[in-house]
């Protein structure tokens, strides 16, 4: 019992770590982007300020489902983050860091947010949710195919298991071992993070930030926290799956930073797709590459 409570405490620690890490990372990357545009940029801790400011404001609520959805969203994401390994040894629930838990438990959070947004009664929110879900359908399929290839190769769907398989030298880092798959995964990750060119569902000027249109104050703050943790989960997934995980926490931070920064830089120079372009894009080349990669790796056994 005590052990489980300890684990849960540990897990909450991981979630908090993720939040802090990603929020700081977000601030730093805003700074980097600003430098790229010859600006000074905000303080590195600007994102913290933003979130705490939102939490301090007096919000409006559109009924119980509006609030309930937000709680469910944040709860689901915190729950998901609690399973996330940071290094191969720092895992809250050892042996239970199954890949599918992340894919599906994260969906609870998404569902909560979608529900809450629709509950606000604003059509723009529903449109945003529609776009978010459509985008999800697009990026998730090629990504899952690549991950399935990895799971098939390593024979485990445990995230640390996959990371360890790369560290012990059974496989190269999968970004090298499965180069095509890696490219697909990068594109999918950009979709997951809602970075340009796939940020169709936020589209501030077009549909007034989509799902978030009716949020302000603490609900928005909680959604920001949720968003930060979601990014933490997704980027960490990527690190563990393709970059060989991390032996030490320092390595994790470095890899995490590189992945996030690179994606950020890429997204900063791109425009935005239309929603049906997103779908056709993902179902064209990334899916094709993912399938080719899977064929090569599974049926031909050519893994570098």
């Amino acid at each position: 019992m005590i052990e489980i409570l300890m684990n849960i405490g540990f897990g909450l620690g991981v979630a908090t770590f993720g939040f802090v890490l990603q929020t700081a990372m977000g601030g730093i990357n805003r700074k980097i982007a600003a430098r790229l545009q010859k600006r000074r940029g905000p303080k590195w801790y600007q994102e913290f300020i933003d979130i705490f400011k939102l939490l301090s404001k007096r919000a409006t609520s559109h009924g119980w489902i509006f609030d309930f959805g937000v709680i469910m969203a944040l709860g689901g994401i915190i729950g998901t983050a609690m399973f996330m390994p940071i290094t191969s040894s720092i895992v809250a629930f050892e042996g239970y860091d199954n890949f599918f838990i992340f894919v599906y438990l994260i969906a609870v959070g998404m569902l909560g947010m979608a529900m809450s947004a629709s509950g606000s009664g604003n059509p723009l929110a529903s449109i945003g949710v529609m776009r978010a879900l459509t985008t999800m359908l697009a990026y998730e399929v090629p990504f899952m195919v690549v991950v399935m290839t990895i799971i098939k190769l390593t024979g485990t769907s445990s995230l640390t298991g996959i990371a360890v398989a790369q560290q012990t030298g059974d496989f190269n880092w999968f970004m090298i071992a499965l180069p095509l798959g890696f490219i697909v995964a990068v594109m999918s990750l950009m979709g997951m993070l809602g970075k340009k060119p796939f940020e169709t569902y936020i589209a501030p000027a077009e549909i007034a930030s989509g799902p978030m249109v009716e949020y302000g104050g603490k609900q928005l703050g909680m959604l920001f926290i949720m968003h930060e943790i979601t990014i933490f989960i997704e980027v960490s997934l990527f690190v563990h799956l393709f970059l060989g995980g991390a032996e030490t926490i320092i390595m994790f931070l470095i890899k995490y930073f590189i992945v996030y920064a690179v994606l950020n830089l890429v997204s900063n120079v791109l425009g935005r797709f239309k929603i049906d372009q997103v779908v056709t894009f993902f179902f064209k080349w990334p899916l094709f590459f993912a399938v080719v990669q899977a064929m090569i790796a599974i049926h031909l056994g050519w893994v570098i």
Binding site: A34, Q37, R40, D50, K53, R58, P204, V213, E214, Y215
Partner: protein, 192 residues
């Protein structure tokens, strides 16, 4: 010499606690001002340079936001016709508190070059509380930035209380609004 003896800390009253929290909140609020830009007037042209690399308002923690619910500051950039006033008030009332208003250009102060137009209001302050004005026709970008810094100072000094005034003097504001707008007969412009 001060005594090193341990003294029981004085329990703060609820009011004091609230005040402390408020001050902490104020710190966050003034360092993260999200704007809602009501760009009906010509002064809006000053915002792009303020946002981009020349003046970079993001270093103050400011940024544009999409909807009134998310925003903290309402920027009224210039003259305001009666038709748009309705929408401005509607939008202002949708913002979550605490909320601030910055008026741009002379139009929001005294009507500016439109002061004698039947379709334009002259003093924004009559209808919604304005915390900070940026004077000029049009004001240059430094002035705009200065206006924002002023607002930050005001928040720091707890003087940006427009939103509180709107509550306390609500009847007065409402009266002015109705006087200006007259009786609104239309229910919905497009689908009557």
């Amino acid at each position: 010499m001060e005594s090193t003896k341990y003294t029981q800390p004085v329990a703060l009253s609820k009011k004091q606690v609230d005040r402390k929290w408020w001050e902490i909140g104020d710190f966050f609020r003034r360092n993260s001002l999200w704007m809602l830009m009501y760009c009906t007037g010509c002064c809006a042209i000053e915002l792009p340079p303020a946002m981009t690399s020349a003046y970079d308002m993001e270093r103050l923690g400011m940024g544009p936001m999409a909807t009134p619910r998310q925003a903290d500051v309402l920027l009224v950039t210039g003259y305001l016709s009666l038709k748009t006033l309705r929408r401005l008030i509607y939008t202002y009332e949708q913002m979550s508190e605490p909320k601030y208003v910055v008026g741009f250009g002379s139009c929001t102060i005294n009507g500016g070059i439109y002061h004698d137009s039947h379709a334009v209001i002259n003093q924004l302050d009559q209808y919604i509380p304005v915390d900070s004005y940026v004077a000029g026709c049009m004001p240059n970008t430094e002035a705009v930035m200065n206006g924002f810094v002023d607002l930050i100072e005001l928040i720091k000094n707890k003087k940006a209380n427009g939103w509180k005034n709107y509550h306390t003097n609500n009847a007065w504001y409402k009266k002015n609004q109705i006087d200006a707008l007259g009786e609104v007969r239309i229910k919905d412009e497009f689908h009557q």
